[in-house]
């Protein structure tokens, strides 16, 4: 599919002008809650072309960054069980838990393998019937249906040596928590494109209706992002608060009902602990009783150490948009992609890493 039109500099200039021309007469803060948006903004240099009255904040949109220490510690504990192969998306490898990381455990001889898809983990389980293959399931609504489908496939094929450690999180209620947080000052949300591919626009409606906070679902090419930003500032200027879709080619208003039905069948909502934010009711997922056989946290007898938080790390404040990455005392001074202290610097889509990698902010003083 030819998407070059969504990178057209000419069209971009028009949209940038339109954004500049929609000055609502007060400072505006837009928050994106999707790590791929964070990277797209940094990679395409969008901050540099925004008007002065407009600030782009990065919210808790990186699933790796919001994974609590306890979950990383548990994944590590699973890898220490004999005859277990831990499989994971590459993103999780370097994230520090309380005492170690999967990369470090691998160097100490644990069998930890990176896969591109949970189906690759399932294939591995078929090939290694004498081993227990555990998939570390992280991610938002985009990834959850894949895991549900993989478990249903495991069930169908009778693959018993496969299980998941579930650390999934869901987005809309977390946005509610942000809006309710008196420290957080956000005028509108750039809503995540591919999460919305699955859930559609309905789950965000409360933001507009109850809190009068507008939201636009945006895609990931530069034109997609600019269109989303323009639609938001236009709403703010006109005093409207609605949920709109800028990413029409990838998002249906009702989402993907097939995927939603599979998620509903396999998972049930639970409370979830977000790193730096705390417990947000109903934003986690657990396997339903019928699927408990695939739950790694029930399959193994694990001893998880008491989690330990990182001193001085402001990832929690960064994730809530209260401080910008380079305003953290550790940013660039002790906390760099080579030697990350907090998760926002570890994950390539973490807001600190994106600032560090693609911009000059905070580097000169460092």
């Amino acid at each position: 599919m030819d998407l070059s039109g969504f990178r057209d500099p000419e069209l971009a200039r028009g949209l940038i002008d339109a954004i500049h021309g929609s000055d609502p007469g007060r400072p505006i803060k837009l928050m994106e809650v999707c790590g791929t948006h964070t990277v797209s903004i940094a990679k395409n240099g969008l901050r540099g072309v925004m008007p002065e009255w407009l600030t782009l904040l990065s919210g808790p949109g990186c699933p790796v960054c919001v994974t609590a220490n306890h979950d990383i510690d548990t994944a590590i504990a699973i890898s220490q069980v004999p005859d277990v192969i831990v499989t994971t998306f590459g993103d999780m490898m370097k994230v520090p838990g309380s005492y170690s990381s999967l990369t470090r455990e691998k160097s100490e001889g644990r069998d930890i393998r990176i896969v591109y898809s949970p189906l690759d983990a399932l294939e591995l389980a078929k090939r290694e019937p004498d081993k227990q293959v555990v998939f570390i399931a992280v991610g938002f609504e985009t990834t959850v249906p894949l895991i549900a489908a993989s478990i249903m496939r495991a069930q169908e094929a009778g693959i018993e040596n496969f299980s998941i450690y579930c650390s999934h999180k869901t987005v809309p209620a977390a946005l509610g928590a942000l809006v309710n947080d008196p420290e957080v000052k956000v005028d509108a949300f750039i809503l995540p494109g591919h999460v919305s591919t699955i859930i559609g626009m309905e789950p965000y409606r409360f933001l507009a209706e109850e809190y009068h906070v507008p939201g636009v679902i945006a895609g990931f090419e530069p034109i997609d992002m600019l269109q989303g930003i323009w639609m938001l500032v236009k709403q703010l200027k006109e005093g409207r608060a609605e949920i709109e879709i800028a990413y029409m080619r990838g998002v249906e208003p009702q989402g993907n009902p097939t995927a939603l039905a599979m998620v509903e069948k396999v998972f049930e909502p639970v409370d979830a602990d977000w790193r730096g934010i705390g417990v947000i009711p109903g934003t986690g997922l657990a396997l339903r009783e019928e699927y408990a056989a695939w739950d790694a946290s029930k399959r193994f007898d694990l001893e998880i150490p008491e989690p330990k938080e990182i001193k001085g790390c402001q990832c929690g404040d960064v994730l809530r948009g209260i401080v910008l990455p380079f305003q953290c005392k550790l940013f660039g001074r002790g906390c760099t992609p080579e030697h990350p202290i907090g998760p926002c610097m570890v994950s390539s889509e973490g807001s600190c890493a994106a600032y560090y990698r693609y911009t000059d902010y905070g580097r000169e003083e460092a």
Binding site: M1, L3, A18, T36, T143, L146, V195, I223
Partner: protein, 83 residues
């Protein structure tokens, strides 16, 4: 979060699997989440699964729509006047 990229379905296989093409790279992905996909459809692929069928026509319509917006008309006029 969530890298998902457009891929074209080249062949449908057994058990809801399909072979897709991403700019000359081919890989097998699951179409569990969009079982209605057929050969020739573009789908958004995330971690080995097709999330959704995407419509090239909608993509083009979005671009056309943006190009018809007032700020473009003004720019076009400005260019015309300049000439």
């Amino acid at each position: 979060m969530c890298l998902a990229i457009p891929a074209r379905i080249v062949e449908l296989g057994d058990i809801h699997m399909a072979s897709v093409d991403i700019m000359g790279v081919s890989r097998t992905v699951s179409i569990d989440l969009c079982p209605e996909a057929v050969v020739g459809d573009f789908v958004l692929v995330h971690a080995g699964f097709a999330l959704q069928i995407i419509d090239e026509q909608t993509a083009n319509e979005t671009l056309d729509l943006l190009k018809q917006l007032p700020f473009f008309a003004e720019e076009a006029e400005a260019v015309a006047e300049g000439a």
